[in-house]
């Protein structure tokens, strides 16, 4: 079973639109939406939820007011600013609590205990393109990285159960904890980039991240015609770094029109230029997925100074 994760560094470059298109092109895949903070893939794939599982992230401290002597030791030792003093009494600020339990250690009265906290839900669903694993993180909850891991676990199980040979992961933006969870152990990351200065800057950081975790990477340029000079810069850079550029997609209103109709670009305009280009990116991806896990990828030298 292969796993492909689609990331971008910068947000809004087209990860979900492209993942949805791949979902309609894939023959035998499980879909996984790992942008658990702001999940959007379900808006196109319209999953029918089969099973829901509560997600317990980090625990939460709870102060028993009856036992608390207001000594303030918990506040002194909490490094996350989660204990708030208000006119001599102490309370927990759940947004700041990282569930470390240090306060339970230092409280001389045993007035603090750790409580399980339900931080979200993990779903296994059916879509018109196959099974899908996705999640909803509670508003303002921590541990999105852990939730991403759970979604990927769920996707793996769905793939095993249904005999699927590919997991298609829609990743989150950034380079931090949820992104790391979304890419570790995948066979290939596809970075969706755009030819803007921010796009170039963020592409560079996210390629460094992939290199850091020794995961092979390929690039797909989206909206390349917004700035052809920058597009060329990215292409040349990738060439010199030996990172394949699998295609250049034009800026096309069909992407938004398809989204408004809750369809993938392939379903909405199968014969359009965008759909055709997406198809050829997909065709280029498949052989790459085959080879990337068979042989050890040699360490690439990334010379970022060219930007």
């Amino acid at each position: 079973m292969k796993q492909l994760t689609i990331i971008s560094g910068k947000g809004g470059t087209g990860k979900t639109t492209i993942t949805a298109a791949f979902a309609s092109l894939a023959k035998n895949a499980v879909l996984a939406d790992c942008d658990v903070d702001a999940a959007d893939l379900h808006l196109i794939l319209k999953p029918k939820i089969q099973r829901t599982k509560a997600f317990c992230g980090l625990e939460l401290a709870k102060i028993d007011k009856k036992l608390c002597l207001e000594c303030g030791k918990c506040k002194k030792h909490c490094r996350f600013g989660a204990i708030i003093e208000e006119s001599g009494t102490f309370r927990l600020e759940p947004y700041n609590c990282e569930g470390c339990a240090v306060c339970t250690l230092v409280c001389p009265e045993g007035a603090i205990s750790m409580q399980e906290r339900v931080s979200g839900q993990v779903f296994s669903s059916e879509t018109r393109f196959g099974p899908m694993a996705h999640a909803k993180l509670g508003i303002g909850e921590e541990a999105s990285g852990k939730l991403v891991s759970e979604v990927r676990e769920k996707a793996k199980k769905l793939a095993e159960k249904n005999g699927k040979d590919l997991i298609l992961v829609d990743g989150p933006p950034g380079t931090g904890c949820p992104v790391i969870s979304a890419i570790t152990g995948t066979d290939l990351v596809l970075v969706i980039s755009e030819p803007t200065l921010s796009g170039i800057h963020d592409l560079k950081r996210v390629l460094e991240l992939a290199k850091h975790f020794r995961i092979p990477a390929a690039v797909c340029l989206n909206k390349y015609d917004i700035n052809r000079e920058n597009a060329e810069l990215i292409e040349n850079f990738c060439k010199s770094a030996n990172i394949p550029v699998l295609g250049k997609l034009p800026y096309d209103d069909e992407a938004t029109e398809a989204m408004l109709r809750e369809k993938s670009v392939i379903e909405y305009a199968k014969t359009g230029i965008l759909a055709q280009k997406l198809n050829s990116v997909w065709e280029a991806l498949l052989p790459l997925l085959e080879v990337c896990s068979e042989k050890e990828i040699p360490e690439r030298k990334l010379n970022m100074k060219q930007f």
């Binding site: 971008s8 560094g9 910068k10 947000g11 809004g12 470059t13 979900t16 903070d37 702001a38 959007d40 808006l43 980090l58 625990e59 030792h77 490094r79 996350f80 600013g81 947004y95 990282e98 569930g99 470390c100 339990a101 240090v102 250690l105 230092v106 993180l137 508003i139 303002g140 909850e141 921590e142 999105s144 990285g145 989150p172 933006p173 950034g174 380079t175 931090g176 904890c177 949820p178 992104v179 790391i180 755009e194 030819p195 803007t196 200065l197 921010s198 796009g199 800057h201 963020d202 950081r205 460094e208 850091h212 975790f213 917004i226 700035n227 920058n230 938004t256 989204m259 408004l260 809750e262």
Partner: protein
Amino acid sequence: MKIAIASGKGGTGKTTLSVNLALSLSDVQLFDCDVEEPNCSLFLNCKPELLQEVSCQVPKINLDKCSFCGQCSEFCRYNALAVLPSDVLVFPSLCHGCGGCTLLCPEGAIQEEPRRIGLLEKASVQGLEFYRGLLDIGEVLAPSLIKALLTRIEPGKTAIIDSPPGTSCPVIAAVENMDYCILVTESTPFGFHDLKLAIELIRQLKIPFGVVLNRYGLGDASVEEYCLAEGIPVLLKIPNERKIAKLYSEGLSFVEVMPEWKEKFQKMFEAIKAQVEETKRKEPLGLQEEKA
């Protein structure tokens, strides 16, 4: 006045708005809190200088003192320690730096040492003070870096905070304690869906907010209709023009090229101030005390 610019969905125009708003006002501090992918400096065309390294305290085990009792690894909620019969493995990248293991160790065998997670940088450019955080590649503690960055806010100045996307811990670190939050979105199904998530978060944090519609004309009217129905002020509409997209791609702030926009941003700032005043007036006294 502290104003955060947030969005839910990525790529809707947080950085564009932050930079252009900051350049339109005086006596401003601009903070780039998208520490995973900070982009403000590209539009200010500056190279920020190092201010400080930010680190997290991680355990260092003195094996001569260690009795391998295993209490530290049992306590650690982040699986950052593993105790073997004659060795202790520390996984620094998993450690949140809570200090629990050091407190707990009965042999006094654990000391803490700083481990770098990122940098704070500063530049003075085009009449504004610019600060940014830069998370090291492979690091996860974005909220700690953001909190360190925001200690640089000076009271009395206008602070503009460019927040990361999403609705989880890094966003909270950036927007909590702000006087106002601007939510930037585009009126597409993805933009609308993520805007509603962001609104839910900002309401929970009890911060007054308004919406800026970017790429206005793209998609449909659903965001505008929603804001009208919910009584949420639409502060500004930035049209979906290729010219603006091109300027963005080149890393140019559009108030410089189109100075008429400066006035629009200033007007928006005045409207925000008025809304903040209004909210304070409406808020019953008791609630204010609770917040303080």
